[in-house]
């Protein structure tokens, strides 16, 4: 496969005397020693890797591992101290200021950030056309292109909204659209989905994969979340202390961890990270409120075709579960009453689990429980989502697949 980006012996030292720091590192000193002895920060040390055309390449590591620094070296937002960055055969470390600017315009879809970095004084449309505007593309042409990508990321109808009116998920779509509007093929995404709610986050991941299917960009995706890394990455580079420890596909990393650090990471994932209530829950279709009359509740249930409905209060705190069959019976028995009030007796204790509960425990609950979905709540008993039987089974089968190579 064609190599799009090649990094050779890339090093970044933040400090006044990088030569001294590099010398110390060569002598086997650690990043922390360089920091305490020389007061210089080792951002990235001696990284060599290549990214193939049209793949999602994930840089994965904990905070301070140098993954964001490495990403910013690739478009030279940080100047590399040593090493080469070869993109489409051009060593961009050798480019002058003006050539670099041109190169960025032609080859990079800007950047997508964790906190979105959309311009607060511009509408969605104006934000999306930002990159094209910088390139001097004419207004009519760039508007047309912007509308096109806005539709692509599912923001149609919000063209004239301001960022303050949008939710986190929508803001990140703006960030994504802004990148896609530019006709370039390298996309840098820095913890792009980390600030989003778990449900929105998974949805955005799915959408990114769908978009990628069609657009075939070369994406460098930075994340600290192994679950996300394995889901999105065609290949993953695991970083620690400024160095790349292992590069490979998810299967390669799980089955042959390069050292104990990676092993600990992966083990951690098998036990809990992937398989928690949070990761398999689904959005709640509809809910009943304490003020709702029985007929209103029944209407909600009919509309979505549910076997029952959860009741929550205005703070989304879980109140209980109402069974459709009992509700229908109750209404039938009080047919003549015009303003029928909700009877507390209809409300059953809802079965709920904490959002961080491992899947294995959820299965046990499920086996002894025959009515409706299991509610997923946070530590304040607020409803976050529901788990239906199908999702449990699907998650299980996926996990068996995961385990088999190891």
């Amino acid at each position: 496969m064609e190599e799009k980006i090649v990094l050779r012996n890339l090093t970044k030292i933040f400090g006044k005397n990088p030569d001294k720091a590099i010398k110390a590192l060569k002598e086997g000193k650690s990043k922390n020693e360089v920091l305490s002895e020389q007061n210089q920060i080792v951002g990235v040390y001696n990284v060599s890797l290549s990214v193939r055309k049209s793949e999602i390449f994930v840089l994965m590591g904990l905070s301070g591992s140098g993954k964001s620094t490495l990403q910013r070296l690739i478009n030279r937002l940080h100047e590399p101290t040593r090493g080469e960055i070869i993109i489409d055969g051009v060593d961009i470390t050798k480019l002058g200021k003006k050539d670099l600017r041109e190169f960025r315009r032609k080859n990079f879809c800007g950047m997508v950030f964790q906190n979105f970095a959309v311009l607060p004084h511009r509408t969605v449309l104006e934000n999306v056309e930002f990159g094209l505007e910088l390139q001097g593309v004419e207004k009519i042409a760039r508007r047309e292109k912007a509308r096109e990508v806005i539709e692509l990321v599912g923001l149609k109808g919000n063209e004239n909204s301001y960022p303050s009116q949008l939710s986190g998920g929508m803001l990140q779509r703006v960030g994504l659209a802004r990148g896609l509007a530019v006709d370039a093929d390298i996309m840098l995404m820095d913890e792009a989905f980390s600030a989003l709610d778990p449900l929105i986050r998974r949805q955005m991941q799915d959408e990114l994969l769908e978009l990628q299917e069609r657009l075939q960009k070369t994406i460098i995706f930075v994340t600290h979340d192994l679950d996300e890394a394995f889901k999105l990455g065609n290949r993953i580079a695991i970083m620690n202390d400024g160095e790349v420890i292992q590069t490979g596909t998810a299967e390669e990393i799980i089955s042959k961890p390069a050292n104990d650090y990676v092993k600990a990471f992966v083990e951690d994932m098998n036990r809990s990270v992937v398989l928690t209530a949070q990761s398999i829950m689904q959005p709640v279709e509809d809910t009943a409120f304490p003020g709702d009359g029985p007929r209103t509740i029944l209407r909600k249930i009919r509309k979505k075709g549910l076997t029952g409905i959860l009741m929550i209060d205005t703070r989304r705190e879980l109140k209980g579960y109402i069974r459709t069959s009992e509700l229908v019976e109750y209404i039938k028995n009080h047919k003549e009453k015009e303003d029928l009030q909700f009877d507390k007796a209809l409300l059953h204790n809802a079965l709920s689990v904490d959002e961080n509960m491992p899947l294995i425990d959820i299965i046990n609950i499920y086996s002894g429980h025959q009515y409706g979905p299991v509610a997923v709540t946070d530590e304040n008993n607020r409803l976050k989502g529901v788990i239906v039987k199908g999702a449990v089974i699907a998650a299980l089968s996926e996990s068996f697949e995961f385990d088999s190579p190891g």
């Binding site: 315009r105 990079f108 950047m111 950030f113 930002f130």
Partner: protein
């Protein structure tokens, strides 16, 4: 305690004298320019019938700060006309506007420069501290030396006094623009100028407008003091009230200054707010 007295005052005097001789032509030209600005503002505003001008101000107030403020402004302006201070009011307004225009022309670029260069920032910061802690009266002296008595030294002293907050707040506003916004612009290949015009200034706008507001308020307070060197306007009436111990006259003029302050404050702060409600 000391035999020898450092001749600080002689040094300053001779420095001012030197500048006067050396740059006399420049000062004359500058003086003419300022006079031209103030005079045109004043004549232009006096050319309109007071009622027309009042309604114009009320309309701007209404739009920027709501109808209640519009009504307050209208009442204040009617009072001004009623007690015969309309011309003095307009003159003061002309002085403040002229000084503020020069403040914006000089202050914004300096503020932007200070935001972009830490070195320049470290040079200008003590200068600004110095300018702000100097007693306001002191500025009147060099202004008189270079420009004589009258309107022009009044505007110059006002300019010097009102400049620091705009520089400071422009600097602050631009420095507070989130790092990611700058990185985003860089990643798309923005030039320094594009970053400034499309990202930094718009995002910093409400802070910069707060600087404009502050400098107008300071300018207004200075314009009144500048009456001591013959700048004219409402300050002159206040001064006359003090000199002749006519409490009523002094307070009347003082009250109109407050009304002008309210109008200018609501309009300029309204401008900063209007943009930031969108954000």
């Amino acid at each position: 305690m000391f035999e020898y007295r450092i001749p600080l005052r002689d040094w300053i005097t001779s420095a001012v004298n030197y500048l006067e001789v050396k740059f006399g032509g420049f000062f004359d030209g500058f003086s003419a320019f300022i006079y031209f600005l103030v005079d045109n503002f004043r004549e232009g505003m006096l050319f309109l019938h007071p009622l027309v001008f009042m309604l114009l101000i009320v309309a701007i107030m209404w739009y920027m700060a709501g109808w209640k403020n519009g009504l307050i402004a209208f009442a204040g302006l009617l009072l001004t006309e009623n007690i015969g201070l309309w011309e003095a009011f307009i003159e003061t307004l002309a002085l403040v506007l002229t000084a503020e225009i020069i403040v914006i022309i000089v202050g914004m670029p300096l503020g932007i420069w200070a935001a972009r260069s830490d070195r320049f920032n470290s040079v200008i910061r003590p200068v600004l501290d110095f300018m702000q802690t100097m007693p306001a009266f002191v500025y009147l002296i060099p202004a008189v030396m270079f420009f004589g008595l009258g309107l022009v030294p009044g505007v110059v002293a006002t300019f010097v006094f009102a400049l620091p907050p705009l520089i400071r707040l422009t600097n602050l506003g631009i420095r507070q623009v989130p790092k990611e916004l700058i990185e985003a612009a860089d990643a798309f290949g923005a030039t320094a100028m594009q970053k400034l015009l499309k990202v930094q200034i718009p995002v910093a706008k409400s802070t910069i407008m707060a600087g404009v507001n502050q400098s107008i308020m300071l300018g207004l307070s200075m314009v009144v003091i500048a009456a001591m060197i013959g700048a004219g306007g409402l300050g002159e009436d206040v001064l006359r009230g003090i000199q002749r111990l006519q409490v009523g006259q002094g307070f009347e003029a003082g009250l109109i200054v407050v009304i002008l302050a309210i109008i200018l404050d609501r309009i300029t702060s309204g401008f900063g707010m209007k943009k930031s409600t969108i954000n």
